[in-house]
């Protein structure tokens, strides 16, 4: 009962907040709605007994990635947008229609998933230790690859943002 109330409340807020991301014409407000959505996702992880991921979600998304977003938006000093959405009435309609159909299909397909078991609260398998174990044994290659990717991205981002142009043109 409590779990249902918490879940439905959280779902409602997350839906509203992500709709805020979609509809708010002010990019900064969009970003802040997104921050709140991320915190909601973190809570969902918490409810799903994935505490470590919840914390990492907070640190990585809310604490780092979205700070960057907000920072960039503030740096550009973007005003409220006159044209929030893309052009073309028909295209817009088609896009929304696609989205709705997609949602219907997704929800329909979820009922193909076989009947699920109870969420066991204190499972011995689902510990952070096991996560780390998997990460450093079975997925070690992917893990190292990700390290390389992040290095490449760091270099690429620095190189990209050092391109001279616009206000920095000589």
């Amino acid at each position: 009962m409590e779990a249902a109330i918490v879940f439905y409340g959280l779902s409602f807020f997350m839906t509203v907040l992500s709709l805020g991301v979609l509809f708010n014409p002010n990019p900064i407000m969009s970003a802040l709605y997104l921050v709140l959505t991320m915190i909601g996702v973190s809570l969902v992880f918490f409810m799903l007994d994935a505490g470590f991921l919840a914390g990492v979600q907070l640190i990585v998304y809310a604490g780092a990635v979205l700070v960057l977003f907000v920072m960039v938006i503030m740096l550009f000093d973007l005003k409220r947008e006159v044209y929030t959405f893309s052009r073309g009435f028909f295209t817009r309609l088609l896009k929304v229609f696609t989205g709705v159909v997609f949602l219907i299909i997704l929800v329909k397909s979820f009922f193909l998933v076989p009947e699920t078991k109870e969420l066991l609260n204190s499972s011995t398998q689902m510990t952070t230790k096991n996560l780390a174990g998997l990460l450093f044994t079975e997925y070690i290659f992917v893990f190292e690859l990700l390290g390389l990717l992040l290095l490449a991205v760091a270099i690429g981002a620095v190189a990209l943002s050092r391109i001279k142009g616009g206000t920095h043109a000589e």
Partner: protein, 646 residues
């Protein structure tokens, strides 16, 4: 040592040399380049020797080392392996290729010392050795074909090595194009053989062909006969037989060691080797063998006549090579496979020796090739002169020298084989006489008589790296013949030395039936040919040393005949006038009238159609990222709904 390891080293050592020199082709250090290349070939030579020793140790009936590296092509029943074999035939070939090749590499170090691209030269040379080894070691026709094409390529590259000279570049192209005709024949031959036997491996081909021949004579349209003809066309191209011999004299544009290695000792004998390899197949098609014999005999004769009139030292040797190759084909044509191989080997020794000798002379004369401007070089170049003399004695067939044994064996088979004829023997003997004439003429004009060397040129003896190969080849030219002594001669020699080569090759080759004759006939035939040689040699000596006005008188007596022969029977002009130019005209006509007006228009219609469709769909690709994303989303939706509905 492991067989496959030996094979790998044998094949890869030249490739290593090629890569080493090829990757630093701008380097001008000729000593390093030559040393690396020579060492690479030396390693191959050692491997060859080891392999042959292993082969000798094996029982006579099954002397063959097969090595299978991997499955090269496997398509729907067709199977070609990267497999190699050393048996009695290829053993001789690899010894000749790596041995003579090694000597020529060493010679080249001295010869190319003034060139500015020695690394490139040695890289090509090593690549050639590799391809030649592929050709002779291949266990099936396809590997042989790869080597066949590879040596063609190297030949082209080396003939046109000094490509800044228009004529030399053209000579390279001529060689390549003429060889293409032959190669097309070769490929068709492989196809025919595959159609007939469903295999391209030599051993199974030979067995199957023997079985087929046992069932009775084959008609002209039988695939095997067609295959033999086509393969012979290939051999004609590679081994410079009538009518495809025209490229070989022009090929003398390349560096002289190249002429010695490729256009005298090894590559041009590939055709002979191929036919010997497929001896059982050819024995199943006697009518083709007759063609081969006739073509070989005619080539031997006509090339010799042209050789008598030439003034360029290398051209004379080139025609001599064509003529000698003609003898080999005459040999294989009458079923004298063993003597053909024998002549191939001795020819490799003495012709390589003579080419290298001529190279030494040309080097000494400062790139002068006209024998009218030489003479009396004996004093200036004693070693070259002495070794050249040995080669001369060998090629004209003086008894005791290598050429005598091999050529005489071929002539004897021509006379005595059931597939030979007396007329072919006559042609052969006449050719031998002419050979004696033009070689003696060459000796007289270059080394003996009075010096006609122009002022300012000071001929000198070549360095040791050039004379050493000459000496080794000189020795081989003398003693090389003694491993294949005919039994009539061996009968009168003390100790009755056996015919080592014949004995060695016997299990691997088909043999022709000989008419039983007495030893007297054989002795008398030998006597006739030796005396013909002696007479014509003496005549040449008289004409060019004693009474030097005889040649001019002869020319005046038959001016038209001499002109015709001097211009090589106008064969090149004939080809240009009757074949090449009409082809060019037809092509031009097709281009101007058919291609532009018809084919191009058709393709324009097609391309315009594609273009308009592209424009239509291009409007979808308008650069709007969100529309692209929408396409993706719609695609996902469609796919998911298909999955869910289905």
């Amino acid at each position: 040592m492991n067989d496959s390891f030996l094979f790998a080293v044998l094949l890869l050592a030249p490739i290593f040399g090629f890569l080493f020199n090829g990757l630093r082709f701008k380097n001008k250090n000729y000593k390093l380049a030559g040393a690396v290349a020579s060492v690479a070939i030396g390693v191959s030579f050692i491997c060859s020797v080891v392999l042959v020793i292993k082969l000798v140790a094996m029982p006579e009936a099954s002397r063959a080392i097969h090595v299978h590296f991997y499955n090269w092509i496997e398509v729907a029943g067709f199977n070609a392996n990267a497999a190699f074999v050393v048996d009695q035939i290829s053993a001789i070939m690899i010894l000749v290729i790596t041995g003579v090749g090694l000597l020529i590499h060493i010679f080249s170090i001295g010869y190319m010392s003034h060139d500015d691209r020695p690394s490139k030269y040695f890289a090509y040379l090593n690549l050639f050795i590799f391809n030649m080894l592929l050709l002779v070691l291949g266990d099936n026709l396809l590997i042989m074909f790869v080597g066949w094409e590879g040596v063609g390529l190297c030949s082209y590259l080396l003939i046109g090595f000094w490509f800044t000279d228009q004529e030399k570049a053209a000579a390279g192209m001529k060689a390549f194009i003429v060889n293409r005709i032959g190669d097309a024949g070769f490929l068709l031959g492989i196809f025919f053989l595959y159609v007939q036997f469903s295999t391209i491996e030599f051993s199974s081909l030979n067995t199957l062909a023997t079985d087929l021949a046992a069932s009775g004579p084959l008609g002209w349209s039988h695939p095997l006969v067609l295959a033999c003809i086509c393969l012979f066309v290939g051999a004609c191209g590679k081994s410079a037989q009538i009518p495809l011999y025209v490229w070989l004299p022009d090929a003398m544009a390349g560096p002289t060691p190249v002429s010695a290695l490729i256009h005298a000792a090894t590559m041009v004998t590939a055709g002979v080797y191929m036919i010997v390899r497929l001896s059982f197949v050819y024995m199943a098609a006697p009518q083709v063998m007759t063609i081969i014999a006739v073509v070989g005999g005619l080539t031997a004769f006509f090339a010799a006549t042209i050789g008598m009139t030439q003034w360029d030292i290398k051209k004379i040797l080139a025609y001599s090579t064509v003529s000698q190759l003609g003898y080999m084909f005459l040999g294989v044509g009458v079923g004298a496979f063993m003597p053909a191989m024998f002549h191939l080997m001795t020819h490799a020794f003495f012709k390589a020796l003579m080419f290298l000798g001529s190279g030494s002379v040309i080097h000494a004369m400062g790139e002068e090739q006209d024998i009218r401007k030489m003479g009396a070089l004996k004093k200036a170049m004693p070693i070259t002169s002495a070794t050249f003399t040995l080669g001369w004695l060998a090629i004209i067939g003086v008894p005791g020298f290598s050429g005598f044994f091999s050529k005489d064996e071929i002539l004897w088979f021509t006379y005595a084989s059931t597939q030979g004829s007396k007329w072919l023997w006559v042609v052969g003997v006449l050719g031998a006489g002419m050979t004696a004439f033009y070689m003696t003429r060459l000796m007289c004009l270059v080394f003996w008589g009075k010096s006609r060397v122009p002022e300012g040129t000071h001929p000198h003896e070549s360095p040791a790296s050039m004379t050493f190969p000459l000496i080794v080849l000189g020795v081989l030219s003398v003693v090389g013949g003694w491993i294949g002594i005919p039994h009539v001669i061996s009968a009168i020699l003390p100790g009755h030395p056996p015919n080592i080569l014949g004995h060695w090759l016997e299990p691997a080759l088909a043999t022709a039936n000989l008419i039983t004759t007495s030893a007297v006939v054989e002795w008398s035939l030998m006597g006739i040919s030796v005396s013909v040689v002696a007479i014509s040699g003496y005549f040449a000596y008289t004409a060019y040393i004693v009474k030097t006005d005889i040649p001019e008188k002869c020319v005046k007596a038959f001016p038209r005949l001499h002109g015709l022969v001097l211009n090589k029977y106008l064969i090149d002009e004939l080809y240009f006038g009757r074949i090449i130019n009409p082809l060019i005209d037809i092509s031009k006509g097709l281009w101007v009238y058919v291609d532009v007006n018809f084919v191009d228009k058709l393709t324009y219609i097609a391309s315009d159609f594609v273009k308009s469709i592209g424009r239509l769909f291009g409007s979808l690709q308008n650069g709007n990222l969100q529309q692209y994303a929408m396409y993706i989303a719609i695609g996902v939706v469609v796919m998911l709904s298909f999955i869910l509905m289905g």
